[in-house]
Amino acid sequence: MSSKIFKCHVLVGGNASGEGLFCRQAFTFDRAVDTRTGVVADARSEIAGASIKGKVLFYREGKGSTAGSSWLVEALRLGNGPGAVVTEYLDLAAVVGSVMGGILYRRSIPVLSGIDAGIFATAKVGAIASVKGDSVKVVLAG
């Protein structure tokens, strides 16, 4: 088993580890995640049917509605949110969602940007990932 460490830009600080979910497509929490289960509902998504609950969620960039943050807050309130969010480009929905989750429910999660896009080609679903400060470690198979 080899692992790779990526240096990222910390937006909201914290540590977390769990299975990684990797989505190359633009992502939103708005409607695309069922807040009652954490399951990705959007059938078009590369991670359709997977649960984000407790996972380290990787996607390239955000999209769509400004309700993205409130869907994340609701998932965090219900205990179904991701353990951390790591993106290539800053997603304001994840930032605001984590900040609001922290202020309202003491459930902020680490949010980082600037991950090397290569991760989406190499990492497999279920690869263990951990976030510590500005380091993101991903265990790659083989």
Partner: protein
Amino acid sequence: MHLNSAHERLLRGEGGDARQLAMQILAKVGDAVGARSLVPIKSAHVQADYSGLHNSGIELFERFAASDGKFGVPTTVNPASIDMDSWESFGVPAEFTRKQIRLCEAYYRLGGIRCWTCVPYQVCNFPKAGETVAWAEPSSVVFANSIIGCRTNKAMAGLDLASAILGLTPKFGMLLEEERVARVAFVAPPGRFSDLDYRSLGYLIGKIAGSRVPALEGTPKNATSDDLKHLGAAAASAGPLAMIHYVGITDGSNSLEKAAEGEKIERVDVTRSDLEVVQGELNQTEETPDLVALGAPHLSVSELGSLARLLEGRKVKRGIKFCSYTSPQAHEMATRAGIRADIEAAGGTLSQGTDADVSPLKAMGFHVVLTNSALLAETLMADGTVKVRYSSLADIVGEVSA
């Protein structure tokens, strides 16, 4: 992020609980995104729909309202999840309605303008070029940045309220001139544009531009501000963008070179077949619709007038609800002008202060939605609770009426 002494006092609670909470949000978000300072805004646009905000959103709204919070700048609001006048006839569950009404009441206590529309700039808030604002609802944001010449980020739920309360927002992203430079250029295909072509082009731009600010060359000369409203809405639904440089329209972007500030940028020539691919992507089924939803964003009174003319002498087929979504203000004007009566005579309905993309369509009993809104199609496909078809207005009217 730097806070001045007045901001620090608010953070310590010297301005009351509501402003303390708002300052906590702005300070934390500002720190996260690397903003240098807080800057004043001229207006705010917030979301208060239960379908988007959930119970945690009610909690936040009611915390602000219960601690005597008041909006510090003129504040408008996006559509609610129900039409306040006719939710019962739509079959919206009562529990859902009660939650929406709690949000409405908290919003009123905070002193918000009761417009309930995703197009505040068409009915009740007319900013001037160069103003900094904090607007939620990405289609408004794209319109504000690209057509009006405002400076606004996509004020995500939570950030929108905090900015509205304090009349301040963190300075980052689209508030910085260097972040507004075009990084990719799209060239529209020549020829006549249908309503659907504008939306499909927007969707394509949003998807391909990704996190780069796009410029668009070749926007048809006869494009109306309504056309560009729908183009921008489609673009923002498909990707993260908050602005499009419409070459020849957007302030300061008389040419592609100006939009890109002289940098050489990638050029994407969009073809008619690219637009057909988008059309295919947003069509999930061939089934007969039980709801035609026109809106997302809200139709203007002139769009309602065109619709009334298109429906003249026709009748919507039985079993299909033909609904146009609009602001309470355009609804009033359409009523006075007889446009509403004409649409209703053809079997259509108007719904005000709500929109299909924030309505509980499945709970209302709908299964297949036919629309010319790429934003609505994209939104409904995200959770798949109803199936979606995407066609031009002319094709829709031809199919569902005779």
